[in-house]
């Protein structure tokens, strides 16, 4: 099935926008240029419309959270049973038809990275899905082990002081992480041993096979993570990075990947008190590369992803980086930039067509393509909002 999108303002994201055509064939982008003369099974006249790569949400809990009822029986975000649950995988908790997936596709989000929650210092392994609701769950998976979720700060304290007195202070969170790393290293040295899923998962992190993504809001939590990871000779990526602007130079110097957001929550927690829309711009100016924005859906709704980018842009982030922060940068962050995140030839045909610019929050998504198929059409299904 080939589709030719004609005469759109095309934002490849990795290069400057232009008015032109884009050809999809066999789930891939096969051409993207000023004028394409080719036969196609379907032609979409996109005159006056805008064309972007499908957005990528690097950090959400769609599917594991269980939004149909919000009841405990439906919630698989946090495995509260212990502070260290490195062995669990979001893969096994996703409800593939939770309402968030549909909201995401209607908003133009074509790839979702789903993490376990932040109750545990080591929470488990995330999963990356293509957001194509027309295929089975297994076929949506593009990275079965997308990242190793860890958490610092208030959440582990709250969760595990209320639940078994296993962590009371930040000191214990750090201790639990060190001990878990140490235990895995000791396990690795043993010749004969029973298979330990937890140690095996942690070893992947220590050997650089699986990237640790660490929930950290406050600057002191960020620095604690760097201290611990230095001890074990590995490099973290950060999630939320709410006070990243206070340690921007350190993050830039170490070339650390930062996912920032959600940018406009209520400040119920002390650790988000200093959140500011200026953080992404300050990080960019300090030299932090590949800044990623996240909604943490259902913390804020997934359709706010481009609004975060627009407000970050209004508050100092360059327009180029604002667009990258919801497309190619999360792809880089997840190690999937060879397949998704921009409108480059040979990449997966994950594309959105909008009626106004993506960074204008009043835009409507008219089409969402996933793997070259129309996964959402506003005309057919109505506005999803």
């Amino acid at each position: 099935m080939s589709i030719l999108i004609k005469n759109a303002t095309i934002h490849p994201v990795t290069s400057k926008e232009f008015i032109g055509d884009l050809l999809i064939d066999n789930a891939k982008i096969v051409d993207c240029s000023h004028k394409i003369y080719a036969h196609a099974d379907e032609i979409i006249d996109a005159t006056g419309l805008y064309c972007y790569p499908g957005m990528i949400e690097e950090h959400c809990h769609i599917g594991v959270h269980g939004e149909k009822t919000n009841q405990a029986s439906d919630n698989d975000t946090n495995e509260w049973s212990d502070p260290i649950t490195a062995q669990v995988r979001a893969l096994d908790g996703v409800k593939p038809f939770d309402p968030g997936f549909k909201e995401a596709i209607g908003a133009g989000v074509t790839t979702l990275n789903i993490y376990p929650g932040s109750a545990n210092p080591m929470g488990g392994i995330g999963i990356t899905l293509k957001n194509d609701l027309t295929v089975t769950y297994e076929k949506r998976i593009i990275k079965e082990e997308s990242g190793f979720k860890m958490a610092m700060g208030e959440n582990p304290k709250r969760a595990h002081s209320e639940n078994g007195n296993k962590i009371i202070t930040r000191m214990a969170t750090a201790e639990k992480i060190r001990s878990a790393f140490r235990k895995a290293l000791d396990y690795d040295k043993k010749e004969e041993k029973p298979y330990d899923m937890q140690c095996e998962a942690i070893l992947k992190v220590l050997k650089g096979e699986l990237q640790a993504h660490v929930h950290a809001h406050q600057a002191d939590d960020i620095m604690t993570v760097l201290r611990i990871f230095d001890e074990f000779g590995i490099k973290p990526s950060f999630e939320h990075t709410t006070e990243g602007h206070l340690v921007a130079d350190e993050l830039a110097k170490r070339d650390i990947k930062c996912a920032v957001g959600p940018l406009f929550t209520a400040r119920y927690k002390m650790e988000v008190n200093r959140r500011t829309l200026k953080t992404p711009g300050i990080l960019e100016k300090a030299g932090v590369k590949d800044i990623t924005l996240i909604t943490d859906h259902p913390v804020i709704p997934i359709n706010n992803l481009p609004i975060e980018a627009a407000l970050a842009c209004k508050n100092g982030l360059s327009k180029e980086e604002a667009l990258r922060s919801i497309t190619i940068n999360p792809a880089i962050n997840l190690g999937l930039d060879n397949r998704i995140g921009s409108l480059d030839i040979d990449k997966d045909a994950d594309i959105i067509i909008t009626d106004r610019e993506l960074l204008d929050p009043t835009h409507r998504v008219l089409y969402t393509f996933v793997n070259g198929k129309i996964a959402y059409s506003m005309k057919e299904e109505g506005l999803i909002i």
């Binding site: 939004e67 209520a266 400040r267 008190n273 913390v299 359709n303 909002i385």
Partner: protein, 378 residues
């Protein structure tokens, strides 16, 4: 007197280049070509867009404080009992809540602060202007007092967990029981003064309005039944599922509806039908809707995002702006005081450097009673 000269004013449903003359905190005159004289301070509003100050009819700012770390600043639900009519948001309101400062910097000049929705009868709400350090000086007197109530799942969920009530049957029974007691109280000649009963008597005498938290359709119908039974003035707050049944909606056309917060995720039984489409559906049915942030659920400086998202429906922008200005003024009974740029009304302005529907527009100055009290950029 202050003359705001040459602003692009949101006036009578459209933009007009007008001058606004302010005396003693009120609009003395709004017209084109008002000639300045030596008694007037002149403020040049050229290139600036003047909206009436925004109004949020349903917030918890000041009583559910941000940045306070939970318990210390949380005075929103008096959960010592499921019926606490006698308590007042006024007495728990901290004017120094940063949420109030951010509200005024974002152009919100009038907000109603209500007790929360854990209790069936939550207590009295209060309307304030968003500037000041002494709450009593911030209060705007409303023609009718405001009583917060909550039906359905919130009281059931909160008090069910504490083994006080279990079903929505009992939620309704608590309302009836309290109103019956208030009737008896009103009819007694000799009685001890009872704060709870006084507040409920106010409802029965139509000196107060019940502002009722409700989400589900079945709860909306229960409210209608009880309020009609006791002949009480009421509003529907949130009304999440009202759009799902046009017949029910039609039957409630005379009841003010305050929708929102809609820009939230994490569905539950109460929010399963949550969608911005409800705005369009109810608007087309003829409702004069108001929009809430429920701040701090959505902090007021991000209230404008809901305006942008409603705009995706491609409704008339006049209708949208009215949901943030004159319609909530009507809900509060303050339509002669605030909510539009009209002669005699308070000089409360949200001054922008462009169209509010443009993401790159900022509120550069907020005026309350003709005094600059904030703005995003300074």
């Amino acid at each position: 007197m202050i003359l705001f000269k040459n602003g692009k004013c949101w006036y009578d449903g459209e933009f007009k280049k007008l001058d606004i003359l302010v005396q003693d905190g009120r609009i003395k005159e709004i017209a084109s070509g008002i000639n300045p004289d030596e008694t007037m301070e002149l403020i040049d509003m050229d290139q600036k867009t003047i909206y009436p100050g925004f109004i949020d009819p349903h917030t918890h700012v000041g009583v559910f404080e941000e940045k306070a770390g939970g318990f210390a600043g949380n005075d929103v639900n008096e959960t010592s009992s499921p019926a606490t009519a006698g308590v007042r948001a006024l007495d728990g309101l901290n004017p120094l809540d940063p949420g109030i400062m951010e509200a005024r910097n974002a152009g919100y000049t009038t907000v109603c602060v209500l007790p929360g929705s854990a209790n069936v009868i939550g207590g009295e709400g209060i309307v304030i202007k968003t500037t000041g350090t002494v709450v009593d000086e911030m209060v705007v007197k409303t023609p009718k007092k405001i009583v917060k109530m909550a039906f359905g799942r919130n009281p059931q969920w909160y008090w069910g967990g504490r083994k006080t009530l279990y079903t929505r049957l009992q939620v309704a029974a608590i309302v009836r029981d309290n109103l019956n007691k208030a009737k008896d109280y009103m009819n007694k000649d000799e009685k001890e003064y009872d704060y709870n009963m006084e507040v409920l008597s106010g409802l029965l005498k139509k000196e107060s309005v019940a502002r009722v938290h409700v989400a589900n359709l079945e709860d909306i119908e229960t409210i209608k039944r009880i309020m009609e039974e006791y002949d009480i003035l009421y509003t529907l707050e949130h009304a999440t599922a009202l759009h799902t049944d046009k017949e029910v909606a039609e039957s409630l056309k005379d009841v003010p509806v305050v929708l929102g917060p809609i820009n939230v995720a994490g569905k539950s039984y109460q929010t399963y039908d949550l969608t911005f489409k409800s705005v369009q559906i109810l608007n087309e049915l003829g409702f004069k809707l108001s929009m809430m942030t429920d701040a701090p659920v959505i902090p007021l400086n991000f209230g404008v995002i809901q305006m942008w998202l409603i705009d995706k429906l491609r409704m008339n922008r006049k209708d949208i702006l009215e949901m943030f200005t004159i319609n909530p003024a009507r809900v509060l009974g303050l339509e002669d005081e605030v909510g539009s740029l009209e002669k005699g009304k308070c000089a409360d302005f949200a001054v922008a450097n462009g169209d509010i529907f443009d993401v790159n527009t900022s509120i550069i100055d907020t005026y309350i009673a003709g005094v600059r009290v904030g703005g995003e950029l300074k």
